[in-house]
Amino acid sequence: MEILRVEDLTKIYGKGESRVKALDEVSFSVEKGEFIAIVGPSGSGKSTLLHMLGGVEKPTSGRVFVDGKDIYEQNDEELAVFRRRQIGLIYQFYNLIPILNVKENISLPFLMDGRNVNESRLEELLEVLDLKNRQNALPGQLSGGQQQKVSIGRALINAPALVLADEPTGNLDSKNSQEIVELLKKSNKEYKQTLFLITHDENIALQAERIIFLDDGKILREEVVGR
């Protein structure tokens, strides 16, 4: 079942001399539950693409359909709610709100909705992420790996349509990196989360089902990878 379809997505920044075409008529589609790695050199448009899939940055032209719906037909308020409920976003750095503890950071999408978090789901995630003993700790009291786990928990709490991770292991050592990737793979396999992961690490990319190669804002090629 198609969960995502991108049609001629283009993004242009700046004007005149400083005009940059970050994405150039990118088109592709994704089935539900796929694990896709996006690779490419710096400035190839990977982050831009990711943010457009998540409804964070509006395209100059082109369309993004999530679950059959053109997400950019929504206004800003509707897009924010869409992100809250349908997208899970994980960054390389600064993923967490420093003054909220682990539980609160994970529950943030629910809290923004003004709803109480699903406690059983929260407990389950804390268990899976091995954060049960640290649920009241503040981000400053956690290691880098633990912080990223919290951000994964936040991304998954709502069981979103897409999980978008922008170099989630870029700031971690190899052991923690692998642990994070395993958790993401687990969410992909067990919860059927459709997962997009930007990475420079070839090993991590090869763990995906499909690799999309970007350069100069265009899709160079796509590769299907065996699991």
Binding site: A80, L89, F93, N95, I97, E104, L108, L111, M112
Partner: protein, 859 residues
């Protein structure tokens, strides 16, 4: 739990210093807003109550009106209160006293009218029947009628009529006495028994032709006078207009209406309400600046957090609300404290002004003191204005935060997105200060918004400080100019009646008061001189023409003759180094002329100086002394000497050209000397002014001399100077508070700007920047801040000082001067503020380990 509220609260707790600074700023702001409102409210209340005490509690009056109109007044929906009196008519006086007030105006008051007219009984009682009468005190003292309680007086009653051809118009108290243009038409004689004496009725107009006497009303009167109050003061004009008949005269209690905000005196309205609105506007602007700036800083520190929240689904509305919530928390603490503080400060100030500044005088109007007057409306207004200020301050940062591009913020693009021309160094800076100067000037230029805020805050402080200093300087100078040097005499007695001899006699009686060490007597006549246009310079000629002094080609200028008693005149001459014999020779009488006189420029609304004697070769002045059978009489007054020093009591600077001589010589020169005397004045010196004044007023009351004619000049001057001191304290207090807001702003901006660049500084230190090099760089940055703010601030401040100089109506001609001492204080203060802030911030980051900073703060 609302995560945004928690984030806002924790942010405030985390940055204790900045939170304390902004709360202090809010307290200051709310205190000043509530202070100004409380002061304006107290002032208005004071003026209203004082006005009521002076002229009565009414808005409009009309006389004469018919009985039917009087009785229907209460049916008019806009009317709240009325009181009335029966008009009995005028009566001529037994003997002539005040030539401008030759009548008694007999009225019959109902009960309410005594209250409306603020009638205060001094002796005796109110009349019980129409054959009894109460007379006003000033009928005896000013009108010089020898009558008293128990006496029966027979009054020839009638009416005043103005006749213009065939037209006749009856005149009442609103029309002053017009000798030669009005008649008295006798109607009947009536006898009254005097049963009481009252103070001058507050409602009697000053120009009234008759002294208001009060009898009891008869059952039915023919004509009435009515005093009306309306529910809304502004409605009085409509109500009076509707009841006004063809022959009715009307007047309004304009002062009271103005103080209530309904009058037509735009100048006073502008002064009170306009000034209050202006001050509040200024405070609000400064406060918005500070609070807005603090929020901007707070949000810019949290911009990645904000971007993350938006990325994971926070709506813009939620983010804006979070900012407003932060504002609410700060305001919730600061505003109530500020409002209470502001009201308390004004209360304290008024208490001090009433009790401490002047030993004898209070801020008083007809016995009403100015005290703190605050209602729930005042507090609500102060709260609303403060709250609106907070809200407006948070609005722009909130909008900006919610509109930021998520992706750019997440990538921290802004820090690197600096346009080329903004990092242009200045070769001269590099040549003089080297690499540290280059770094300083480039840093200084890069973050336009923040640096603009800092410079603007400093600018505002400079402008305010210098402008207000100038304003109070000119105000003080005008007081000095009008008062001149300390008068030699502390108490004066003035007589303006028709019998100058009586003035002299009263002076002699009062001279016996306890503690009088020196005395002097003078009579003042106002004459006129004519100067041909060809003897006057063009500029002065135009001013004279514009002020109505020119008739055909001659300037008719007033000459004031100050005729002293001989002993005092001789002393004055000796002090000038002049031989008294030359000036007091009756065969060849000479006067002393003040070298410079002046005239009142109506257009410019100030006194202008003028010399009419040219090169002082002029030895006589042609003075118009009167007229005989319609023909002007002139006398050539011989001038023995010119001087710059006026005799004590003659006043420092007034319109006219002063000549000083003795009463005997003046009498010999001028026709109808006694008739031309305007005032006779006694001057008394004492070592214990208070005792002498009390003794003198006691003597006055025993000898039918009005107490109001004796003035304690020392006290008057002290009150004015005390008021000036109070104005100065108020003004400077205001500047200090506004400046504190600006200082807080500067502190916030500079310190935060330094703190957020900690990683940059850490990298510079890591690549080899020494501690001294770092300090040099920061010092230069501070220097640029200070210089830029002074570069713009000083010229603007001096221009504003000049505008103030041109617009402040001091009533006198004072030269413009650049307020040098305020400029110097501004320069020193600016650099102290900037450098102190920098030292605080750099001290804070100096404790950090550079490597840790580089490691922990990702780019």
């Amino acid at each position: 739990m609302n995560p945004f509220h928690k984030i806002a609260l924790e942010s405030l707790k985390k940055n204790k210093t900045r939170t304390a600074v902004v709360i202090t700023g809010v307290i200051l702001s709310a205190a000043m807003i509530s202070g100004v409102i409380a002061f304006a409210s107290s002032l208005q209340h004071f003026l209203v109550e004082g006005s009521i005490a002076t002229t009565g509690d009414w808005y409009g009056m009309a006389e004469p009106v018919d009985k039917s109109i009087k009785e229907n007044l209460k049916k008019i929906p806009e009317v709240s209160e009325t009181s009335s009196y029966q008009i009995k008519g005028y009566s001529t006086l037994y003997k002539q006293g005040n030539k401008y007030k030759p009548y008694i105006y007999v009225t019959a008051f109902d009960g309410d009218m005594y209250d409306t007219g603020r009638i205060k009984m001094i002796h005796g009682r109110k009349p019980k029947n129409p054959n009894e009468i109460v007379i006003p005190e000033h009928l005896i003292t000013d009108g010089e009628q020898d009558i008293g309680i128990g006496q029966k007086i027979s009054l020839d009653m009638g009416k005043r009529e103005y006749i213009n051809g065939k037209k006749k118009k009856q005149l009442y108290q609103n029309v002053e006495y017009m000798p030669g243009k009005e008649n008295f038409s006798f109607e009947e004689s009536r006898t009254f028994k005097i049963v009481g004496i009252c103070e001058r009725p507050a409602a009697e107009p000053y120009q009234a032709a008759g002294y208001t006497a009060i009898t009891a009303p008869e059952k039915d009167g023919e004509k009435y006078g009515v005093y009306i109050k309306t529910k809304d003061p502004g409605d009085i004009y409509k109500v009076i207009k509707n009841i006004k008949g063809e022959k009715t005269e009307i007047s309004y209690n304009e002062d009271l209406l103005t103080y209530l905000g309904a009058g037509k005196n735009e100048k006073i309205k502008e002064m009170i309400f306009g000034l209050a609105a202006f001050l509040i506007g200024l405070i609000v602007l400064g406060s918005i600046f500070l609070i807005h700036n603090t929020f901007s800083i707070s949000l810019s520190e949290r911009e990645r957090e904000t971007a993350l929240l938006m990325a994971i689904g926070a709506t813009r509305k939620q983010l804006r609300r979070s900012v407003f919530y932060e504002a609410f928390l700060i305001g919730g603490i600061g505003i109530p404290i500020g409002i209470i503080a502001g009201i308390a400060i004004v209360g304290g100030f008024l208490f001090a002004a009433n009790n401490l500044f002047s030993g004898v005088g209070n801020l008083e109007l007809s016995g009403v003191s100015m005290t703190l007057f605050v209602t729930y409306k005042t507090i609500i207004l102060a709260f609303l204005v403060s709250f609106a200020t907070m809200h407006l301050s948070a609005m722009i940062p909130a909008l900006r935060a919610s509109r930021a591009s998520i992706i750019n913020t997440v990538r921290r693009v802004y820090d690197f997105r600096i346009s080329r021309n903004k990092t242009k160094g200045y070769n001269i800076v590099s040549d003089i200060f080297g690499v540290y100067g280059t770094l300083a000037i480039k840093n200084y230029s890069r973050n336009t918004r923040q640096y603009r805020v800092t410079v603007f805050s400093l600018l505002i402080s400079i402008i305010l400080f210098i402008s207000v200093s100038s304003y109070t300087h000119y105000l003080t100078s005008s007081v000095d100019a009008l008062f001149g040097e300390s008068e030699e005499y502390q108490i004066t007695y003035s007589y303006s009646g028709t019998s100058p001899q009586k003035g002299k006699d009263n002076y002699s009686i009062l001279s016996n008061a306890e503690g009088v060490t020196k005395k002097s007597f003078a009579q003042v006549l106002y004459m006129e001189t004519e100067i041909t246009a060809d003897k006057i310079d063009k500029k002065t000629l135009n001013l004279l023409r514009g002020s109505g002094y020119m008739k055909k080609d001659k300037a008719h200028l007033p000459v004031r003759i100050f005729a002293m008693d001989e002993r005092s005149y001789k002393e004055y001459l000796k002090n000038q180094g002049l031989d008294p014999k030359l000036f007091t020779d009756p065969e060849n009488p000479k006067a002393v002329a003040l070298r410079e006189g002046g005239f009142y420029d109506i257009t410019g609304q100030k006194y202008r100086k003028m010399n009419i004697y040219g090169s002082e070769k002029v030895k006589t002045l042609l003075v118009r002394t009167g007229e005989t059978s319609g023909i002007d009489e002139f006398h050539s007054v011989s001038i023995g000497a010119f001087t710059d020093e006026v005799p004590a009591g003659a006043g420092e600077f007034t319109a006219g050209f002063l000549m000083v001589t003795t009463t005997e010589i003046a009498e010999s020169i001028f026709i109808n000397y006694e008739k031309n005397i305007e005032t006779s004045t006694g001057f008394f010196k004492s070592d214990d002014t208070k005792t002498t004044y009390e003794s003198m007023t006691e003597i006055a009351s025993k000898n039918n001399i009005p107490k109001s004619s004796i003035i304690n000049e020392e006290e008057e001057e002290e009150i004015s100077r005390s008021l000036m001191t109070a104005v100065n304290i108020f003004s400077y207090g205001f500047i200090v508070l506004i400046s504190l807001i600006a200082v807080a702003n500067v502190f916030n901006t500079i310190s935060t700007n330094i703190l957020i660049r900690r990683r940059e500084f850490a990298i510079l230190k890591a690549v080899g920047l020494s501690e001294s090099g770092f300090m040099k760089m920061m010092n230069l940055e501070c220097l640029f801040y200070g210089l830029k703010s002074l570069l713009y601030g000083l010229p603007v401040a001096i221009i504003i000082a000049y505008i103030i100089y041109r617009n402040v109506n001091t009533g006198t001609e004072i030269a413009f001067s650049v307020p040098v001492y305020s400029v110097v204080i501004s320069i020193i203060s600016i650099f102290i503020i900037v450098f102190a802030t920098m030292i605080y911030a750099t001290h804070k980051i100096g404790k950090e380990d550079s490597i840790e900073v580089i490691k922990n703060e990702p780019l």
